[in-house]
Symmetry: C2
Subunit: 344 residues, 2 copies
DNA sequence: CTGAAAGCGCTTACAG
DNA sequence: CTGAAAGCGCTTACAG
């Protein structure tokens, strides 16, 4: 068992309150006394008991706000599970998590939610995804003017005062996909790229990573596209059919967006499933099924759960224990799965 | 803020002690009263505050023993990091972790360590690896006679009363390797298997998983071996050279043991690195380096850290919170990595 | 500037 | 079988 504040108080011949003031720099204490107490504490190897502190501080009812956009997508549903888990833990520890789900993507919705949370007295906010100039400046305002720390997750926003970002390193993810595809097609032949939206920075980063690494490491691979399917199965199917018809010698498809069902349907209908090597993204929807069937060769995923869980806990640890996050970027692991490493 | 034991006591018209007895099944309470209190607690959505509990229970100074064999290997070093982290957390929460490292593998060492831990009054033991009849019967004796729950990790022991096992599903790992290798060699050609010891059950399970899945899913692949290198680089190099000389058309090597350095050296010397597809195991030693160089195509790994961390925490959660483990097997994730998904 | 006391939510002897 | 009280280690009004 560790040294307690009481033992230090006895050793220093003062009260526990005084030790607290000294050790936590609360002021209202004679500087020499504070110094002496700190010296004694250090000498005795004092380490504050987090349970005592947490229990005592649970009176403060610290509030953390979470703003989530596009909660209707399967991916965000998993993120949501992570948030709910963090919320349960924070509740349990005497805090509160205020969650606002905004349907689809709406900068105005985010701004309003931020406003409202400030009125409700939150001490910190986790926010995703972010892609708007007004939101950016509001983030800086909150951090600087109101000292409300903000963590972004899933999609980051550069050049703001946000504390840190939790999510995928999209460029590196694209490179990992290239490394896999290069091997799957034995380093040569045609590979088509299908992405979602050209306007989405994460998707674009993945495409850039894929292209640059393929060029560098597998120069004999000829890349086609990217074409954009807007995460739509019908369009994805049409694009798949088109590229296959125009390129009967196609070796692989890098599916960088949702629309997998549409693509796999066409591959199966044409008897090409398994023959055309497919690297796809995210452990969502029917992707595991396609992996088992062989229509998808390898799947790359980000830990959606962690993307919901970590931001809340990072803020909690900051506010409750004064523990700063490890670094500005908390990248979730880039996970590779085949048919045999599907969980459960 | 959550519901507290005090609120339940008021709602039920009893004292807090009575609520505690009801909710934690401590006996000495009229069954009907207990039922009623549980009902109310559930209705109010009561979730115990872990800080309060931990603080209050920190008087008990609960001890958990950990016995680790072969700590000198790099793999066990990482396991050790997980144990140290768990130890730090448990210390901080008012408990104690007693760690005994036994050099190499020694059943007698394990038996003595168990004996000593019981004398020191541990409430539970985590133990690895296990491969001995005497140890088996001592496990059962501890569990049944002394009510000391035991968790095995890294390597399991069947047919005992151990609470659960934390480690890899070796057979499934072999299957995963087959799935990768099958794709890497485009489903045909010769693939050599090099393993460590024929007597090691985990290694054998991986080989069996590899063989059975290859046979089933890639029948055109011709498997050679397994040959055994006894985790020795020199022997691994010799085996590699031999199989390459005898089979100039070799397409891949499944390296199921340590000795990667010896193998990669030969591949590089013969100018075959990258050409021969290699699937190897464990994120240890120079394996990441070989992955970057391309001498190893894909790496499969188990989470060594989790294998150290989880057993201690499972026991802590059991003793401290009365939380039973999820199931008898806590399989660590089978992770696949290529040159782009190396951590950091 | 400092101390004494109350309280956070829980568990645990101790009385009855 | 049940209750009242003390205590875990910390923080925080409140007095002085």
């Amino acid at each position: 068992m560790g040294v307690t504040i009481r033992q230090i108080a006895e050793a220093a011949g003062v009260s526990r309150g005084t030790v607290d003031r000294a050790l936590n720099n609360r002021g209202r204490i004679k500087p020499e006394v504070a110094e002496e107490i700190k010296r004694i504490a250090k000498e005795m190897g004092y380490r504050p008991n987090q349970f005592g502190r947490a229990l005592s501080m649970s009176k403060q009812n610290l509030k953390i706000g979470v703003i989530l956009q596009g909660a209707e997508t399967p991916f965000m549903q998993t993120v949501l599970q992570g948030i709910e888990q963090a919320k349960a833990e924070v509740d349990n520890l005497g805090g509160t998590v205020l969650l606002t789900k905004i349907p689809h993507i709406s900068a105005r919705g985010v701004l309003e939610a931020m406003e409202q949370m400030r009125e409700e007295g939150v001490s910190a906010i986790a926010l995703a995804p972010v892609e708007d100039a007004d939101v950016k400046s509001k983030i800086d305002e909150y951090v600087e003017e109101y000292q409300i720390p903000i963590v972004t997750f899933n999609s980051d926003v550069k050049d703001t005062k946000r504390l840190c970002f939790v999510g995928q390193n999209a460029f590196q993810c694209g490179r990992a996909a290239a490394g896999l595809m290069g091997e799957l097609v034995s380093g040569e032949g045609k590979v088509a790229m299908i992405s979602g939206y050209s306007s989405n920075p994460s998707l674009s980063d993945r495409v850039r990573g894929f292209q640059s690494e393929m060029e560098k490491k597998y120069p004999k691979v000829e890349l086609l596209g990217p074409e954009y399917c807007f995460e739509d199965n019908t369009i994805a199917g049409q694009l798949t059919e088109k590229v296959l018809t125009e390129n009967p010698d196609l070796k692989g498809i890098f599916m960088n967006s949702h629309g997998e069902e549409g693509m796999c349907k066409v591959l199966e209908d044409l008897g090409k499933a398994g023959e055309i090597k497919v690297v796809a993204n995210d452990f969502m929807g029917r992707n595991y099924e396609f992996l088992r069937d062989g229509a998808i060769s390898l799947l790359i995923g980000q830990d959606a759960y962690v993307q919901g869980y970590e931001p809340v806990m990072i803020l909690f640890r900051l506010l409750f224990h004064g523990e700063e996050p490890q670094g500005e970027f908390k990248y979730t692991e880039i996970m590779i799965r085949n048919a045999y490493t599907i969980p459960q």
